[in-house]
C-alpha cells in the first residue's frame, strides 16, 4: 500500500522533532529512513504507525486518512528495536497474538490460527523454536520472531524501528540480506529506520536522509551516495574529506591559494569542499592542485590509507585518503593530490 505523509510537524516541548515533513512511499517499496539520533526518523515511523500523533499534518495509507484511526485499527506491522516480544508467552503464542485478539466476528478458528503461525515460523525459518520463551532466544532469533509476529496480522505496511540496532555485527549482516530477500518474497510496503548508512544503502530501494527533523534528500542508494544534495548528506553518507575553501566567481581557493578547479556553480563566499577519500588522486609532487607530505600509511585489503599533511596553512590540515595498492606510498613522501570528483557547498555557520 502507498503511504503519503504531508506537512507533518511534531514538537516535544521546545524541541522540533519533525519540521514540516513530506514523504511519499510507493506500493511495494523498501524504504530506509536514515539519520543520526535526534533526526526525527523514529518519530516519523511512530506517527505512521499511530504510536505517536503529529501536532499538525496528514498521514494517508492507501489514500485513506490514517490519523482518524488508532494504532490498533491501522493494520500496520511494527517491529521494535528491542523486539518487545511478550516475555510470558511462547514464541508460538507471540506470533499468534495478533490473530487471537481479533474481534470475534472475524477471528479465525484455532486450526487456521495454528496453520498460519506455523507458516510464519517457517517463513522466518524458526519453526523449531515454537515452544521456547523469548528469554531463551538469541537476539537475531528474537528479531525474526518479532517480524513474524508483525506479519501475522497481514499488515498493509511494515514498519521497522532500528531492526538490527541491538545485534552484533555479524548477525546484522546476515539479517540484512535476509530482510532483503524476505521483502522480495512478500512485497509488503516497508519502511525501516536506521542510523547505519551501510545498512540503508545495502537494503533499501530508496533512502530518505533526515537531519534535525527535516528531510535532506530522497533518492536511490546510488544517488544519495554519488550526488549528495546537501553538505550534511555528503558528510553523513560515506567518508568525506572536508576542506574549508573560499569561492570567488569560478575560482576555488584554499588558504589563499587557487586550487585550479571549477566552483561548479557554488555561490561566492566561504564554502566547504567535499571529496570522497577514494576520489582524491595521488600523483608525483607538482602534478596536482594540492600538495602535502605523507605522514603515515596503513594498508588493508585492496587499499592503502594515507594521512597527508597539506602544505600551506602551516601544515595543520591533515586529511586521510584512500589509494589503490598498485603504487607503493612511503611515509615522508611529498605527493600532489587532485580531486577527481567533488562537491562544494556554502558554509552554513
Amino acid at each position: 500500500m502507498a503511504i503519503e505523509v504531508k506537512n507533518i510537524v511534531k514538537t516535544f516541548g521546545s524541541f522540533a522533532a519533525l519540521d514540516n515533513v513530506d514523504l511519499k512511499v510507493a506500493d511495494g517499496e523498501l524504504l530506509a529512513l536514515l539519520g543520526p539520533s535526534g533526526s526525527g526518523k523514529t518519530t516519523l515511523l511512530r506517527i505512521i504507525a499511530g504510536l505517536d500523533w503529529p501536532d499538525s499534518g496528514e498521514v494517508a495509507i492507501d489514500g485513506e486518512n490514517a490519523l482518524s484511526r488508532g494504532a490498533s485499527e491501522r493494520q500496520v506491522g511494527f517491529v521494535f528495536q528491542h523486539y518487545a516480544l511478550f516475555r510470558h508467552m511462547t514464541v508460538f503464542e507471540n506470533v499468534a497474538f495478533g490473530l487471537r485478539v481479533q474481534p470475534r466476528a472475524i477471528r479465525k478458528d484455532e486450526a487456521t490460527i495454528r496453520a498460519r503461525v506455523k507458516e510464519l515460523l517457517d517463513l522466518v525459518q524458526l519453526d523449531w523454536l515454537a515452544n521456547r520463551f523469548p528469554s531463551q532466544l538469541s537476539g537475531g532469533q528474537r528479531q525474526r520472531i518479532a517480524l513474524a509476529r508483525a506479519l501475522a496480522i497481514e499488515p498493509r505496511i511494515l514498519l521497522l524501528d532500528e531492526p538490527f540496532g541491538a545485534l552484533d555485527a555479524k548477525v546484522r549482516k546476515e539479517l540484512r540480506q535476509w530482510l532483503r530477500s524476505l521483502h522480495n518474497e512478500i512485497h509488503v510496503t516497508s519502511i525501516f529506520v536506521t542510523h547505519d548508512q551501510e545498512e540503508a544503502l545495502e537494503v533499501a530501494n530508496r533512502v530518505v536522509v533526515m537531519d534535525k527533523g527535516k528531510i535532506e534528500q530522497i533518492g536511490s542508494p546510488g544517488e544519495v551516495y554519488d550526488n549528495p544534495a546537501t553538505a550534511f548528506v555528503h558528510g553523513f553518507i560515506g567518508e568525506s574529506i572536508v576542506l574549508p575553501v573560499d569561492v570567488a566567481g569560478d575560482a576555488v581557493r584554499l588558504d589563499g591559494r587557487s586550487l585550479n578547479i571549477p566552483a561548479l556553480g557554488a555561490a561566492s563566499g566561504a564554502a566547504k569542499l567535499f571529496v570522497r577519500r577514494h576520489d582524491m588522486a595521488i600523483g608525483p609532487a607538482g602534478s596536482g592542485t594540492l600538495e602535502g607530505a605523507i605522514r603515515h600509511v596503513r594498508s588493508f585489503g585492496p587499499i592503502q590509507r594515507a594521512e597527508v599533511a597539506l602544505s600551506g596553512g602551516e601544515g595543520k590540515t591533515v586529511i586521510e585518503i584512500d589509494a589503490p595498492r598498485d603504487r607503493e606510498l612511503q611515509a615522508g613522501e611529498i605527493v600532489s593530490l587532485q580531486p577527481r570528483r567533488y562537491r562544494i557547498f556554502a558554509a552554513q555557520d
Binding site: 490498533s72 518487545a84 528474537r142 509476529r149
Partner: protein, 320 residues
Amino acid sequence: MSMQSGLVSSTSQLRAYAPTTDVSVAAPAPLLEVARAQPVTAPRNLRTEPGPIRFIIIALAIIFLSVFVVLPLVVVFASAFSKGIMAYFAALAEPEAMAAIKLTLLIAAISVTLNLVFGVIAAWAISKFEFTGKTFLITLIDLPFSVSPVISGLVFVLLFGAQGFFGTWLQAHNVHILFAVPGIALATIFVTFPFVARALIPLMQEQGTQEEEAAISLGASGLQTFFRVTLPNIKWGLLYGVLLCNARAMGEFGAVSVVSGHIRGETNTMPLLVEILYNEYQFVASFAIASLLAMLALITLVVKTILERRLDEAEVSDGD
C-alpha cells in the same frame, strides 16, 4: 584489583583474585591458572576478615535477632498456651473474639480489594504516562508511610466526626462512618494504600511500554492489552504488594484505634481487642488473639520469600 576492601561477601570471595603481588605478570592468563600458581597459603589471609572478628559480627547479629524478634514471638505463643490448649481455643471461641476476627477479615477484604484496583491504576498512570504533577503524585503515594497512623485516623475524625467537616450532614442523613465499619475501612485503606502501588511502579517502569505498544499495533484493544500483556507481566509484583497490604491491613492499630470507638463485639478489630483484653488482665485471651496475628506474620514472611524469588527469576529471564 581491590583487595583492600573491608567486608568481602561470600560470593565475591569465590570470585576473588589472588593477592596482587605478582599477578600483574600473568594478568591475561585464566583465573584458574593464577590460582594454581598462587596457592592459598598467602602470608596473611587477605580474602576475608580474621576469624575472631567474623565470629563476633555473626554472633552479634544472631543475638540481636533472637532478643528482639524470636523471643517476643516465643513469648506470645507461650503465654497463649499457658493455661493449656483448651483455654486457648475457648478464648478464641468467645463471641467478642469471633466478632473481632470477622471484622478484621472484612476490613482486610475491603481495603485490599480497593487498594489493588487503586494501586494498579496509580502505578499504571505513573509508569506509562508522562504528565505534569507526576513527581507530586509519586510523593503523595508515600504519604501514608511518612505520616503517623494516629494522624491518619484523626484526619477521618476531623472529616466525619460530630464536630467534623461533614459531621452535621452525616448526622442529619443518619449515615454512620465514624465508629463503624466504613470509618475503619477508610482508615485502613489510607494506611495501606502505598503497598500495591510501590510494589508495581518500579516493575512497570522497568518493563516500559513497548510490549503494550506491540500489542496495540497488533490490533489488541486496551482491555485485551491489559489482561493479556500487562497483567501477566506484573502478576508476581502485584501478589507481593497485595500480601504486604493484607498483612498491614489486618495488623493496623493506630489509625483504626482512633476511628473505631472500641464498641465491644462491633468495632474492635483483632489488634484492638488484644490491647483491651490485656488491659483487663485476660492474658490467655489476649495472647491467643495475638498468636493469630503472629501466625499471619509468619505465613506472610514465607509467602513473601517465595514471591521475591519468583520476582528475581522473572527479572533474570528477560535480560537481552
